[in-house]
Amino acid sequence: MKKYIIIGASAAGLACAEQIRKEDKNCSITVLTREAYLPYSRPSISYYLKGAVKENDMYLRSPNYYIEKGIDIVTSAPVRSIDKKNKTVKAGRKAYSYDKLCICTGSKPFVPPIKNINGKVNAYTFLDLASTKAVKAKANGNTKAVVIGAGLIGMKAAEGLSKICKSVDVVELSPRILPSILDEKSARSVKKYIEENGHIVFHLGDTVTEAKSNANRITSVVLKSGKELECDMLILAVGVRPETELAEKAGIKVERGIVTNPETMQTSDKSIYAAGDCTVSVDMLDGSKRVIALYPNAVYQGTAAGSQMAGGDIKLDGAYSVNAIDFYGLRICTCGLINAVGEQYSDRTVRSGDKYKRLIFENNRLVGFVLINASENAGIYTSLIENKTDLSEIKTDIFDTPSLFMFDKAEREKRLKGEIA
């Protein structure tokens, strides 16, 4: 009986474990997680914070599921080291041996250099359920919260907090919000919408340089511009970095993230695979190497890794970013190369009312989109991007609501039969 060990129990880790079980009915699968919880939805934490989902509903699978599937989830088991040679990992006091190992350690928050924040009890990160519970326990109607970072995590934290707290200030170094998913124009209108619908105050192009404290509690923060914001809860959401420490120590090749074969997810060690936010991906759209820290990508990678580990034939088709998020009911869907720079790229934007649709093209192909309140059938755009469809084959105006009638009869029939993905 083969032994599989997976480090990390979030999107990639769970997908990997499930895929192994699909391919190999008789093997032992052990998932080691440093967290105290069974696999839960990390993106749900901001919804948990604002009370939109209950803790019970955050769990990705029911506890029975793991028993049925024979997937052993070991919680509160931070892995200390990987021994490549003897094929063992050490977690807590126990050592686990493996035939195949998958590293799905995800990312860690990046803590910016700010004076006087170390050891302060009211400075929080916002990345996992434990930190969210801590925030939720302290936030109340009198809280004045300051969020550093207006990326996906920072903005979701701010949205969640705005439903609870007295005031929420967001400080962002970049001149616009959500720089990873929005272009300048759309970022402006989204910012306006958020300001109108949630009481969030933005401080863009600015950063926190120093925290002022009373004993071990932060009382206010000082911005580079000189402004001083009252603060009794500081959320550090500047960004994340791949969690690669374990892999590095074990002597696995690491660049910005763990380096893997882009199809099989195998690392520099034959028996060790890696998937999810801890890896560096090759973007299939422009060939660039970067960390695509997004949920669907983690699942796709985890599935491919699991299949390859168990001798299956699923490979990663290619990584690209796809993200959907909402703020106060405003739905934003983005995919592909949002901020592509280069002569080969062109883009066009169509606005009507509160709908915003920006498509990015490379020659005759779609390589990215930003849809705000215009997400209808966005997946068809995604499939155009993924399949690198030649747009001259498209029958209708690409800016119309995408539908199967974009395609010729043969392609349409295939899709109606569900034969193509």
């Binding site: 939805s41 509903d57 990705l60 669907p296 599935t303 796809v322 869907c333 199967l404 029939e413 039969k417």
Partner: protein, 146 residues
């Protein structure tokens, strides 16, 4: 598994499938109340695309390897191993629409949560198929894995 298939050469573009889908997924189950008075208005899980010359109704394909399930960030979207039906758990869904962003068929609709075809599990035949006046929708098993 049995799925709903559209025959575009027979589709009338009448969109009664949408009307009856809304009805089947309403509180009152009454075609008039569901489509006129209920608030919130039920969302149709099936949509007719095209024009009078050529149209077809599209609803969930209940794929073998559903992208929506893979991409779901909360575990709300699942594929039932026995029936093969892909469905949304509304308690878990946060309405982020990642599923919609990856569905290559355009089958997921936006409500408060993700809304999609459940093949009218409690009935013998989905409402859209039952009420299609020209049998342009059929509910059959074309084989393939669940």
């Amino acid at each position: 598994m049995k799925k709903v298939y559209a025959k575009e050469e027979l589709c009338l573009n009448c969109r009664l499938c949408e009307v009856y889908c809304k009805t089947a997924h309403s509180k009152t189950k009454d075609v008039l109340k569901a489509n006129k008075y209920e608030n919130p208005t039920p969302v149709s899980r099936i949509t007719v695309y095209g024009d009078k010359m050529l149209s077809a109704a599209v609803n969930c394909r209940h794929c073998d390897n559903p992208k929506c399930v893979q991409a779901c960030i909360t575990g709300a979207m699942t594929k039932d191993e026995k029936t093969g039906i892909v469905s949304v758990n509304e308690k878990k869904c946060i309405g982020c629409m990642t599923c919609l962003s990856v569905c290559p068929f355009g089958c997921i609709k936006t409500g408060k949560f993700a809304v999609k075809c459940d093949l009218c599990q409690d009935e013998d035949e989905p409402a859209c198929v039952k009420n299609c006046p020209n049998h342009a929708l059929v509910y059959i098993d074309l084989g393939g894995a669940k």
